[in-house]
Amino acid sequence: MIRRSTLFWLLAAILIGCGLYQLKYEVQAKEERLARLNRQIQLEQEAIHVLNAEWAFLNRPDRIADLANRHLELSQVVPAQFGRVATIPERSLIPVVAEADAPVAPTAPALVKVATTTPVKPPVKPQPAPKLHIAEAKRSLGTIDLAQVRAVSPPKAAGRDVVVVVDGALLAHAQR
């Protein structure tokens, strides 16, 4: 009986001892890993700090201005470019009247579409159409697809400004 319990305790002691050793080494390894990670974090933080300084250096306003001048086709905002949403006109349904030398009025399909979706109502009586200058707009806005032009404002009496409303309510403002 005594022998059996002795054996049990001996075995338990050996097992616990081994377990303890195992645990100790594991903890030690973890501690080493922690120290390593801490050191790594420190290095990363240092690197971030230096990179922040570099970021600030690269974001110098004069450098950004220089880059913008060289690579962007943008210029200084002028007061005339500000507007309010309320002042943006509704999309005009006034048909664009082509001049004799201009191509066929490009807004026709849009109007037809409006007409077909509301066949019951009589088509809106077109208001007296202002004289619009497609040809002129085309000359100054050579790259815009005229099929998308919805309305063109008449040239101002004094200035030679032409405002073109393109699909998507984009306001193009051309100046000759």
Binding site: L34, L37, I41, Q42, H49, A56, R60, P61, P79, F82
Partner: protein, 585 residues
């Protein structure tokens, strides 16, 4: 047992006594045996108690809170720092953009006792660091009794690598922080600079050394880097255009006293403060005191309106120059007639302003200037602070000259702070270069009547709409302001050719948010300005350009006139100047 045994057959007597049969002894032997039995029991008891104590302690340790013993047990912990801990805290602008920071670098030093061959070491080192003289270095390395010699501070990583590769014994690296200013001269006069040992030697770096040194939280300035860039660019353009010797410009938030931009030109690169002439380190905005000229009429009028000696319909005789002893006070834009108060301001009449100031008197003027802080040394987070100059005896001639900005010298920050007070409803907020914390009350005290401020806003708008400041007009931004052209003092007199042209503005003037001050030192007229180099020709256009560029950035796009704006800025221009006896004396 003995009795029963008699009736039983006698069992054979065992050879050995039964194992459980106790040996009975008598006498001295019994005593010895008894006491030797008691000892192990005693020892076992002692051990049992000891183990019980240990066991209890174990239970105690396992269950009790660790607070009492926390200090004794050092467990490795995860890193708690959130960033690189430099020897000086970062400085950032009001939106957190880095303005000054410290980066870790390696510095090279030598221990001469460990250097085997000074001559060879010096020559090999010179190959990597060409700026070091080999002979010089050899002498320093051979010095007796030294154990520490700096070779070069703040090496680049490449230099460090190459020196490491040389592998010369006796040379070591020391980690050091190097202060760098990514924006260079843009913020020069605001941040100042720190020396190689990390000690602030100018600007904010020096003024709040205690907060920066050893601090880990970035220090936020009130400056907006974007505005700083705009202001510097426009001011530099004007200085170049008019061949001026320098200039200064300030943008202040009129509701908080925060300085959003402060530029003094010429400036220097704080990364290499020694590379520019020492004069460039002079901060015109805070250290320089100037006679501001006509911009001071703003205060003369505010003073008279606030004291009640004049109102918006009062008029003053500006037909003849004022002659007092050997001086004559004349008008630059002479109208030679009676002028109403708005006209005095609009045409920048010295005569009118002088007469308005005389009605308030010397004591009143001095008290008013003191109230606006114009007589006190500048209070700002900078070591470079100017002290106003004013006459010891405040005589009538001084009253008159001070009314149009001569005889009292202040810094441009004084002026900006005063103008902010005049336009913001009459509350003086102390100027600051540090960002005010959100939610904290803004310090300030009411020094003018709100009605005075209301009238002054109308007058300032009038100057830009229809007066000497038309060149500052930026449609939709509602600038109000006042021009100033001061002749600079030189050898006991005033120099006509050396001028200080300035413009003070506030916008949007019907509800001011920002005060802008531009000052150009000794501009020369150009063909484009028909030879004029006055505040209206030189400084007003700079203000216009600055406002147009900053407006959209600070969320103030141009607005069209509304009936409300018209009501707020209306000046009763119908009233004709009326002669009155009191002003005609």
């Amino acid at each position: 047992m003995t009795t029963l045994a008699a009736f039983r057959p006698r069992a054979p007597r065992p050879v050995a006594p039964p194992p459980n049969r106790a040996v009975r002894l008598e006498g001295a032997a019994k005593q010895v045996i008894d006491s030797s039995r008691g000892r192990p029991t005693l020892a076992a008891g002692v051990f049992a108690i000891a183990f019980a104590v240990v066991g209890m302690r174990l239970v105690d340790l396992a269950t009790s809170k660790p607070a009492r013993d926390a200090r004794e047990i050092e467990l490795p912990k995860a890193l708690e720092s959130t960033g690189y801990a430099a020897d000086r805290a970062d400085i950032v602008d009001r939106f957190g953009a880095l303005v000054a920071t410290s980066v870790p670098t390696a510095s090279l030093y030598a221990d001469p006792r460990d250097v085997l061959d000074a001559r060879e070491a010096a020559i090999r080192l010179q190959a990597v660091l060409p700026e070091i003289k080999a002979d010089d270095l050899e002498a320093r390395l051979s010095a007796e009794g030294k154990s520490f010699v700096w070779i070069k501070r703040n090496l680049t990583p490449r230099q460090q690598y190459e020196i490491n590769r040389l592998g010369i014994p006796g040379f070591y690296f020391q980690r050091e922080d190097k202060r760098i200013y990514p924006h260079g001269s843009l913020m020069a006069h605001v941040v100042g600079f720190a020396d190689i040992d990390g000690k602030g030697l100018g600007g904010v770096e020096q003024a709040i050394e205690g907060k920066i040194k050893g601090g880990h939280e970035p220090v936020a300035l009130s400056i907006d880097l974007r505005l700083q860039h705009i202001v510097r660019q426009e001011l530099q353009a004007s200085i170049t255009e008019f061949s001026a010797i320098g200039g200064g410009a300030v943008i202040m938030d009129s509701r908080t006293g925060e300085i959003l931009s402060m530029v003094s030109l010429p400036d220097f690169d704080p990364n290499a403060p020694g590379s520019a002439p020492a004069d460039n380190r002079f901060n015109r905005n805070t250290l320089g005191v100037y006679e501001m000229g006509s911009t001071f009429k703003t205060f003369a009028l505010a003073m008279a309106l606030d004291a009640g000696t004049a109102n918006m319909r009062s008029s003053f005789d500006a037909r003849e120059p004022i002659r007092i002893s050997r001086f004559a006070i004349n008008d630059d834009h002479a109208q030679k007639r009676w002028l109403t108060v708005p006209e005095v301001y609009k045409h920048s009449s010295n005569i009118g302003a002088a007469k308005m100031a005389l009605e308030v008197g010397a004591e009143g003027q001095k008290a008013f200037m003191r109230k606006l802080g114009m007589l006190d040394p500048l209070q700002l987070e900078l070591p470079e602070r100017g002290k106003p100059k004013y006459p010891r005896d405040w005589r009538p001639i001084n009253v008159m000259t001070i009314s149009f900005g001569h005889g009292l010298s202040v810094t441009p920050i004084h002026l900006a702070s005063g103008v902010a007070t005049v336009v913001n409803g009459g509350v003086l907020h102390p100027p600051t270069l540090l960002k005010r914390k959100e939610g904290e009350p803004i310090p300030g005290r009411q020094v003018l009547k709100a009605s005075t401020s209301d009238n002054m806003r109308r007058l300032m708008r009038l100057v830009v709409e229809d007066g000497t400041g038309k060149k500052a007009e930026a449609p939709g931004y509602w600038i109000g302001g006042k021009t100033g052209t001061a002749e600079k003092v030189s050898r006991g007199g005033y120099k006509k050719s050396a001028r200080l042209s300035s413009f003070v503005a506030a916008f949007p003037i019907y509800d001011p948010r920002y005060v802008v001050i531009v000052m150009v030192d000794e501009p020369k007229g150009t063909k484009k300005t028909f030879g004029f180099a006055t505040g209206g020709w030189v400084a007003a256009p700079v203000v216009q350009r600055i406002v147009q560029r900053m407006g959209p950035l600070v969320g103030l796009p141009p607005v069209d006139e509304t009936p409300e704006i018209r009501r707020l800025l209306m000046v009763d221009s119908q009233s004709q100047p009326k002669e009155k006896s009191v002003a005609a004396r």
